[in-house]
Subunit: 336 residues, 2 copies
């Protein structure tokens, strides 16, 4: 009992050639019904299973896509991957996951390793520390379709699936205004990422459109973590006039801000309204659930997968599609 059955094994048993077996298994019309049946029966009996590796080598298609994210255990990214996997699996694709850990060199190595593995497509959310983009060109030169999600790099020939961060910033800010906020501060994130720039642009525009000004010091740039949120609030609370609302470009900073506010004896939302960003799972579990912008990560992943599938279908025309996902404001107690 061998553990690897090939079409040659089947062929030998039936006194025919491997070519015939292959044709029978692939429903090639040139095969007689009788042999087809014999082959299928024998394949079943011997528990034949196609070696995708051989197929991949022959066809040049591995039916595998590479996904590179900074960290897989961030809810946002793992949800995206879930979306990608669920969309691609039924089509026979496998998903290989790599982490760049926000490191340009690791990202580059990931790309090369994935190319060597002969992936059919590459989906990436760019590391925030990546300054040199040659490795992206390298992938494109190999004619492997590249799709960016969430964080993108401006270049020709790549499709993107991103959130409308501008709109998200605008809507979040407008929501605060509509609910009575007059002095709205903003916690921004790593300025190297354009998503934060766009969220801020939306915030600014909303203020302008509603004739609210943005005093010096009301925009605080920092990391997207709890500590940064606390630090920012300490700074903000020294200003005059004091803000009565905070739009944070990250949920973690929003959480830090809330903790710090509480520590300083201010109430959320009575004294300061807060809106976060990302709809992290914890935001809805808090005693004062946090209003936040949902990015529909799973849909984002599914869209990225769909764009990829279109791309490989029309292999002739290298399409370049830019899908923009609408943000969904999850209104909760922290901003009301």
């Amino acid at each position: 009992m061998k553990d690897k059955i090939t079409i040659y094994d089947i062929a030998k048993k039936l006194n025919i050639t491997a070519a015939t077996v292959s044709r029978a298994l692939n429903n090639n019309p040139k095969i007689s019904e009788s042999t087809r049946k014999k082959v299928l029966a024998m394949a079943d009996e011997m528990h034949y299973e196609q070696n995708k590796l051989a197929l991949a080598l022959k066809s040049g298609k591995s039916n595998t896509v590479g996904v590179v994210v900074p960290f897989i255990d961030r809810n946002f990214f793992s949800s995206i991957i879930r979306g990608i996997e669920e969309e691609l699996y039924p089509k026979g694709y496998h998903v290989i996951i790599c982490q760049s850990q926000e490191d340009e060199q690791k990202e580059l190595k990931n790309f090369n390793a994935l190319l060597n593995a002969q992936i059919d497509g590459l989906m990436v959310s760019v590391s925030k520390n990546t300054k040199n983009f040659d490795h992206f060109d390298h992938v494109l030169k190999k004619k492997v379709p590249v799709i960016f999600f969430d964080r993108k790099v401006d270049m020709k020939g790549v499709s993107t699936v991103t959130l409308d961060d501008y709109k998200a910033g605008y809507e979040a800010t407008k929501h605060l205004i509509v609910n009575g906020a007059k002095r709205i501060a903003h916690l921004s994130g790593d300025w190297a990422l354009d998503i934060y720039q766009r969220r801020m642009a939306g915030y600014k525009q909303a203020l302008v459109d509603h004739n609210i000004d943005c005093p010096e010091g009301y925009v605080v740039k920092g990391q997207s973590d709890i500590g940064a949120g606390k630090k920012a609030v300490k700074k903000l609370m020294k200003l005059d006039p004091l803000p009565d609302a905070i739009f944070s470009a990250s949920d973690f900073a929003a959480l830090g801000a809330i903790q710090q506010l509480k520590e300083m004896g201010m109430r959320v939302p009575e004294d300061v309204k807060v809106v976060g960003f990302s709809n992290e799972p914890f935001t809805k579990f808090m005693e004062v659930p946090i209003t936040t912008v949902d990015q529909s990560p799973m849909e984002m992943g599914m869209m990225a997968a769909k764009v990829f599938l279109e791309q490989v279908k029309n292999t002739s025309v290298p399409i370049e599609k830019n899908v923009v996902i609408a943000p969904k404001l999850k209104i909760r107690k922290s901003s009301l």
Copy 2:
């Protein structure tokens, strides 16, 4: 300018054969230093990159492992995957992710697809609805090492990496007792999973060891979500005597319990102490942070990867290793 460079292309340029090129690239000692240098230089100049697919077909090793989890976007599983990836990547392995979605049929299909892709190893956290285990035997018959993490199936020839759930249940319960709890209820999870059975066994033993009894109705079986936690508390609060502590086998049920307790006007931890399980990110962000059992998922993933690496190193002797990870109780306000 071709986009796929093979060793044949290099050979042609240098007027040698592909065999020589292959040997030169693999540091085969039979090659003269001069040709080796020429080959390496030319390979570099032509941007040669090895086709891993061809190598995999030839060698029978794909340098790929399959990981099957119920859902990738659960923090526990994505952390495990992170651990696996970070341990395996430096060794040249790729990680293919599949989701069983707690469905036996999907799990089976995942297995077959992964086998067809010629994976070198399979790491699984079994779907809770899997009753038939033939697909595991199938994988083993192909001599593909199988490693279970967290949720396992008892069978010969497979290694496991699991948490000491019994100890975790014991420690959590003991902690409540030490902190003054006298009447401790337990919210269990899906009884099909042995992890919940063991957590409960630990709980029971801790009670016995400390001469505390467990009145009728103090153990509530249910799902591991917020709703189940709420429902359980509603039941518990009709009992006499009332529990003064709850050990929940899941953080989500613990959260639901806390919400329901609050709704019923009881304070945590003053009236009822609560301990959860899993150290979900949200537990430490609550106003009353939740005491919980940390399962060190990343370490669990790394251990699974290490066990796999050992397994493939000693390919001769099929070792069967059972790694048990110690639980870490994260003591927070909800139980003090």
